[in-house]
């Protein structure tokens, strides 16, 4: 299944936040969206997953989601969004229950996704007992449990400290290499974008428009820290973003 955005324009209280965005997300590829703060990247992600309705333009699913997919468009949120009153296992079973998956079948799925995110020993723990990195791994496990066609990741590492971020980035890469998934990854961190993105869409400051789409023709498994090609792309991204970021920083909020 492929996603295609057609000329999306969106306003908040009369202020244009997104203008004429057209993008496509082919199966098995990760598209990173970067831009200065307030450029509407998170709004764009909410539009893609149907949590908000665009003022004009549309988001199209092209083709059928793969078989066994319970929730084609699945989010991983910046603040994890785990139910604090449910254990790790309970948080995952939450998204299965509504599809009528209970008992042994649910157990198997939960075991499997917990193993893939290295959380098998924490099935009974409550969210408050977990560190930030672990919480986000639970959220990723929950997303994997519904076998999404496209993962929508909204700054998933931004609430974590630098070391944890690095570890989780490796985990995400490993997950993708084991079983490629399509994804839209919104971030303001250029290093994350060049590590994980097959393509990187750079948005301008408000109203967000696509300034440039950069393709990185290096397989994900060959990308590591300090790779010359990645540094080059990152430097280029920064040169694109710097002016925008500076201008965005000077803007008043809510004018």
């Amino acid at each position: 299944m492929k996603l295609s955005l057609e000329q999306i324009t969106h306003h908040y209280a009369g202020m244009p936040v997104l203008q004429d965005i057209s993008l496509s997300i082919p199966a098995g590829e990760i598209l990173c969206i970067i831009g200065p703060s307030g450029c509407g990247k998170s709004t764009l992600l909410r539009l893609i997953g149907g949590l908000e309705r665009p003022d004009s333009g549309e988001v199209l699913q092209v083709g059928e989601p793969p078989e066994g997919c319970l929730n084609p468009l699945t989010y991983v949120f910046q603040d994890f969004a785990l139910l604090p009153w449910r254990s790790v296992g309970g948080n995952i079973s939450l998204v299965l229950e509504d599809h009528g998956i209970r008992g042994r079948e649910a157990d198997e799925i939960i075991e499997d996704v917990l193993a893939r995110t290295k959380l098998s020993d924490f099935r009974k723990a409550l969210p408050r007992q977990l560190s930030g990195g672990m919480k986000q791994r639970v959220a990723i496990a929950r997303a994997l449990a519904v076998k999404p066609a496209v993962m929508l990741l909204d700054e998933p590492l931004s609430a974590l400290d630098a070391q944890t971020r690095e570890l989780l980035m490796d985990d995400l890469l490993a997950l993708w290499t084991r079983q490629p998934f399509s994804g839209v990854y919104v971030t303001h961190n250029l290093a994350e974008a060049v590590r994980l993105g097959h393509r990187i869409a750079v948005l301008s400051r408000r109203p967000g428009k696509v300034r440039e789409i950069i393709e990185i023709d290096l397989p994900l498994e060959e990308r590591h820290h300090g790779h010359a090609r990645l540094d080059e792309v990152q430097a280029h991204l920064w040169s694109l973003m710097k002016q925008e970021a500076m201008a965005a920083d000077q803007e008043l909020l809510d004018v």
Partner: protein
């Protein structure tokens, strides 16, 4: 610091950084509440025995104790407790369950909110006791009017605390539920209600205390037995020992319900830090 730089040369003034944090964080101290009770009672006992608290001002705590003991021994205590407890349980169960339901509706639906919030605001400040005659006409002089009075009294505070609690449920959790395609009913049952539970339970403390207050009012209506009836009877005879014995029972009831809710909180809200 200016005085540091002005200090005589050759000697660098060295001071310990004063501690400025701490406080503003009450912690649980076991037994202190009990000690306050005991000290207060001892002071009153001493005062009434020594004579600087008049006989008509306050009864002797030991006499009140004796009256209570007598009540318990003669079996009269249960005769009064049983109808009162039934009224309290039935009335507040009705009021609280209806209140939670209406509160959740107000929390979830714009029309319910627009229509019912002013109504609840109008009902809340009415002294329910003033409506006693009306309740008698509507529900008769029997138990039904007593249940209705307690139910109405516990209903309004429960509604207010419930919809406040629903408003405070983390919206990102609800978005999460929607993003995973959970049904409306699942979101309400598994996200909204558990998320609102802490607020609902703390509102329940207030509601049940109001229920106990109204119990006495309800028993002004032709009740032969009941703690409220017992207090009113003692009051009209200026029998202070009996009056205070009844008041002690009501207070104990209040402490009991409050600690009961505390227990429920401990069990249901274990997920909180």
């Amino acid at each position: 610091m200016s005085d540091a730089t002005l200090a005589p040369s050759g000697q660098i003034p060295t001071r310990k950084v004063p501690f400025r944090g701490g406080g503003f964080r009450p912690v649980a101290k076991r037994g202190i509440g009990f000690v306050v009770f005991v000290v207060l009672l001892l002071v009153i006992e001493w005062g009434t025995r020594a004579g600087w608290i008049g006989n008509l001002t306050l009864p002797r705590p030991s006499d009140v104790g004796q009256t209570l003991w007598g009540l318990a021994e003669s079996g009269q205590l249960w005769v009064h407790m049983q109808p009162s407890l039934t009224r309290l349980v039935v009335g507040s169960l009705l009021g609280v369950s209806l209140g939670v339901a209406v509160g959740v509706l107000i929390g979830l639906f714009s029309y319910a909110r627009a229509g019912l919030v002013p109504l609840v605001a109008a009902l809340f400040p009415i002294p329910k006791i003033a409506l006693l005659p009306l309740f008698v006409i509507w529900f008769g002089i029997d138990e039904a009017s007593k249940y209705a009075l307690i139910a109405l009294g516990t209903f309004t505070p429960t509604v207010v605390s419930t919809y406040g609690a629903v408003d405070n449920v983390d919206r990102t959790l609800i978005r999460m539920g929607q993003s995973f395609g959970l049904s409306w009913w699942s979101i309400v049952r598994k996200i909204v209600v558990p998320g609102a539970l802490p607020g609902i339970l703390s509102g329940l403390r207030v509601s049940l205390a109001i229920g106990i207050i109204l119990l006495v009012a309800a028993e002004m209506l032709g009740a032969e037995y009941g703690i409220g009836a017992y207090i009113l009877q003692a009051g009209s005879l200026y029998d202070l020992e009996k009056l205070f014995a009844g008041v002690v029972i009501l207070s104990a009831l209040g402490v009991l319900t409050s600690s009961g809710i505390g227990l429920i909180e401990k069990r249901l809200l274990r997920w909180r830090a």
